[in-house]
Amino acid sequence: MNKMEQMDRTLKEPNLPNLNAPFSLREFIYGLLQPIIAVLLGLAFALLAVKFLGDSPLLVLKTLVKSSVGSREDFGMTLFYATPLIFTGLSVAIAFQAGLFNIGAEGQLMWGAMGAAMVGILGKNCPESVAPILGSLGAMIAGGIWGFIPGWLRARRGSHEVINTIMLNFIAVGVTSYLTLYHFKTTENQNPETGVVAPQFLFTKWTWFGDTPLNAAFILALLTAVLVWVLLWKTTLGYEIRAVGDNEEASRTVGIDSGKVRIIAMTLAGAVAGMVGINEVLGSAGKFKIGFSPEYGFIGIAVALLGRNRPLGVVFSAILFGALHKGTSALDLETEKVTRDFSQILQAMIILTVSATGFWEYVRRKTK
């Protein structure tokens, strides 16, 4: 290739200065320190609230740790809860890198689950070798469409994605419920859910961690995080997404079609959020249940925030939020006054401490 040869010759020029960026340990530590301190501070505030309620903060803390990572099964549950949060966190992060705020992960993941369920129910005669892949694609495409719509509206009609994604969340609830109750309703019981997908679609072969519902979707989530990182930081498309997110006007000036880039980013975000459906339908429940998501989409915003919109950060913060979810579920039994709703206080405290960016800048300046 001509361009390549030319570039390689440039590289061999003798007088090029060495411009390799020095690795800054200080920057790296600061990057890590901020979320860690935020979490510890949030935890401290929440435990203070426990003290005021009259329960023992120590007991609450012990219960949290024991119940989230105390045994193999507990840890399995933690990772199972983390899986959808990795997807929604990545979804919010992709949109954020393009300068968009995706509040629609909740609607997108509902469509993802519905997509997987529909493929699984309708594709009874699908061969076993491709069934899980087709089911997964169903989830991604359905979620992707639900991301494409607000992306297109923003790029071509100028209407703000925050409004549109919120609206689309309501529509997603309505339409998936309608499909569940009037077209795919289970005949086996009175629950508001669809029938079970054909068995060849299920990830039953790839489950481990004993009795826990943890399944191959977790591995898929980690893989997705890696792919998102590669896309955003190693390809021209990712460069364009981040350029539009950083300075849309400058991107437009140099000829990047920011509308197209935003549509692509929002579609990707929708597809990744839709992958929650893989974990839910193909990995564990086997069907679409109305109201299955305890607001994974919205927690995903917090996950992305704590993970600083970086794929690796999202994975770690999703696991932390999964652990909180699992850990607090045991509080009902172990403590007198504190209930599992404590997880919401904890989440809120962490979000508040992370959001206090002004405070972080202050700390940073003072310590310099």
């Binding site: 440039t10 411009l19 390809t235 021209t236 498309l237 140099v254 000829g255």
Partner: protein, 510 residues
């Protein structure tokens, strides 16, 4: 020289590791106009902010005396009480409020809880504006006023608070030449009434014309203080830069080539119902520099839009643009730029750079596909390209990992210049290339533009710096209210003549 009213004694101010002011010492005589000059980042604004109470000096950072007393201002309020006023470069006015309300804002006459006593303010302001010849319409909303009038409002605001010492930050940057002379007139009157005026500026010619004494800043230190009788343009420039600078350019004569690189035919455009371009036509040929002179906001931005975003709805109503022989009416911006066009946009922060990204990321902006192999960015290629450009364009510091935000204005601009010139374009569109750029970088950038001309590149230069236009352009077009109102050849016109046309005065030959 008369007694000094302001005196800096070894004043220092640091921000982190950076010493913005390093043992600054100088004196300002009572009743004088005192020019504070220096390049961007030389510390002149910091010094004035110390005087106005926006910053406080370092703990062991010397002292500032005003009227013989050591000052310790905690906020501008203290400074105002001490008779110091400041007119910021970006005016601090509330657009929809009337002039009167803007002036009394924060110092409303009348009791705390009672109604505002506008009448007493009106009487006082009338007297002030008569005394100093500062006429302003007291009841019009500020947003309806021209920039020059807004500036008078700001000055009146300071006088209303009974200031004796007035600081003006780059007061002429946004004014037309007639407005500038009007301002100078006003300042002389203030001086005659015994006020002391400090003017921060980087325009050496203006300092020479109005100041009584000058303090020159360089790299956080005072590099010279002299009365205007001892100063010359060359001397001031050398003190500012720290070496001998060439203020005038050698521009060799050159016949333009026969091929036109840019042809604009009768373009008109409207924005929200208002006509912003009125049948603008001109051509740029290879090997020539065509300058578009004009006060900002007279259609320059829309003209640039219509060159590069012609296909977007509502950019051009009528007319056509041909770049390097291609009609661009239906071409995307990416396609137009890939014809062989380099484009340095007007506003480098808004349109040219991603401030929080590295030099590397900014260098490939718009050319990411050229540094990629089937969609994969090639780090090695990018590094090589950036390394070469940083050498060739002397971008400092030579660090590709630093955020662009951390570079000086001149070096930020050089990154854009490097990016666009390294494409080897045949047509260059360069807008406000030296705005907020230091003297050294201006010299460099002008040299590069002339070099491109020598290589046969056709250059369209849009600038509101008249000096720049006059020095570089082979032909000068003057734009006023969206219309090309005059055209001059090199050497045909001087500053005064073009300045008059720029302000909407008599039309030149066309």
């Amino acid at each position: 020289m008369s007694e000094s009213v302001v005196e800096f004694r070894k004043v220092s101010k640091s921000f982190g590791d950076l010493k913005a002011n390093d043992e600054i010492s100088f004196q300002v005589s009572r009743g004088s106009i005192h020019g504070i000059i220096g390049e961007n980042g030389a510390g002149k604004s910091t010094a004035m902010k110390l005087l106005y109470g926006l910053y406080r000096p370092d703990a062991d950072g010397g002292e500032i005396q005003v009227r013989g007393k050591k000052i310790d201002f905690r906020s501008p309020l203290d400074a105002i009480r001490f008779g110091i006023g400041m007119v910021h470069q970006h005016f601090m006015l509330a657009g929809p409020y009337s002039v009167l309300d803007n002036i009394i804002l924060g110092a409303e006459p009348g009791s705390k809880l009672g109604p505002i006593d506008r009448n007493s303010a009106r009487v006082k302001l009338k007297a002030l504006s008569e005394k100093y010849g500062l006429s302003v319409p007291l009841d019009s909303p500020v947003e309806k006023l021209a920039v020059g009038v807004r500036q008078r409002v700001e000055i009146l605001k300071a006088l209303y608070r009974e200031c004796e010492i007035l600081i003006l930050d780059e007061p002429t940057a946004v004014l037309t030449p007639p407005e500038v002379s009007n301002l100078l007139e006003n300042l002389r009157k203030l001086k005659a009434e015994g006020k002391t005026i400090l003017i921060i500026t980087h325009k050496l010619k203006e300092v020479m014309s109005f100041a009584d004494e000058v303090t020159v800043f360089r790299a956080g230190k005072v590099s010279g203080g002299l009365s205007i009788g001892d100063a010359s343009l060359q001397k001031l420039a050398d003190l500012m830069v720290g070496r001998s600078v060439r203020l005038t350019l050698d521009v060799p004569a050159r016949e333009p080539e026969k091929n036109s690189v840019l042809e604009v035919k009768g373009i008109s455009a409207r924005r929200s119902g208002v006509s912003v371009l009125k049948s603008v036509s001109f051509s740029v040929f290879g090997g020539e520099i065509v300058g578009v002179a004009g006060v900002e906001g007279n259609g320059q931005s829309e003209l640039l839009e219509s060159l590069f975003h012609a296909a977007e709805a509502g950019v051009i109503d009528e007319g056509s643009v041909k770049i390097l022989g291609e009609n661009v009416a239906s071409l995307s911006t990416a396609k137009i730029l890939s014809l062989g066009v380099g484009y340095v946009p007007e506003d480098r922060h808004e349109q040219g750079l991603m401030l929080d990204r590295s030099v590397e990321d900014n260098f490939i902006l718009g050319q990411q596909a050229n540094y990629a192999w089937y969609g994969w960015l090639r780090k090695r290629w990018i590094r090589a390209g950036v390394a070469r450009a940083m050498e060739a364009f002397d971008i400092r510091p030579r660090r590709i990992d630093l955020k662009i935000r951390g570079f000086s204005g001149g070096n930020q601009q050089k990154v854009i210049i490097a990016r666009e010139f390294e494409k080897n374009p045949k047509c260059l569109v360069v807008a406000q290339p030296t705005r907020g750029v230091d003297v050294g970088a201006i010299e460099f950038i002008h040299g590069r533009i002339l070099q491109a001309r020598a290589e046969g590149v056709g250059v369209l230069l849009v600038s509101s710096e008249l000096d720049e236009i006059l020095q570089l352009s082979d032909r000068i077009l003057v734009i006023y209210a969206g219309e090309i109102v005059a055209e001059f050849k090199r050497g045909e016109a001087d500053e005064n003549r073009i300045g008059g046309v720029m302000g909407g005065g008599s039309r030149g030959q066309r």
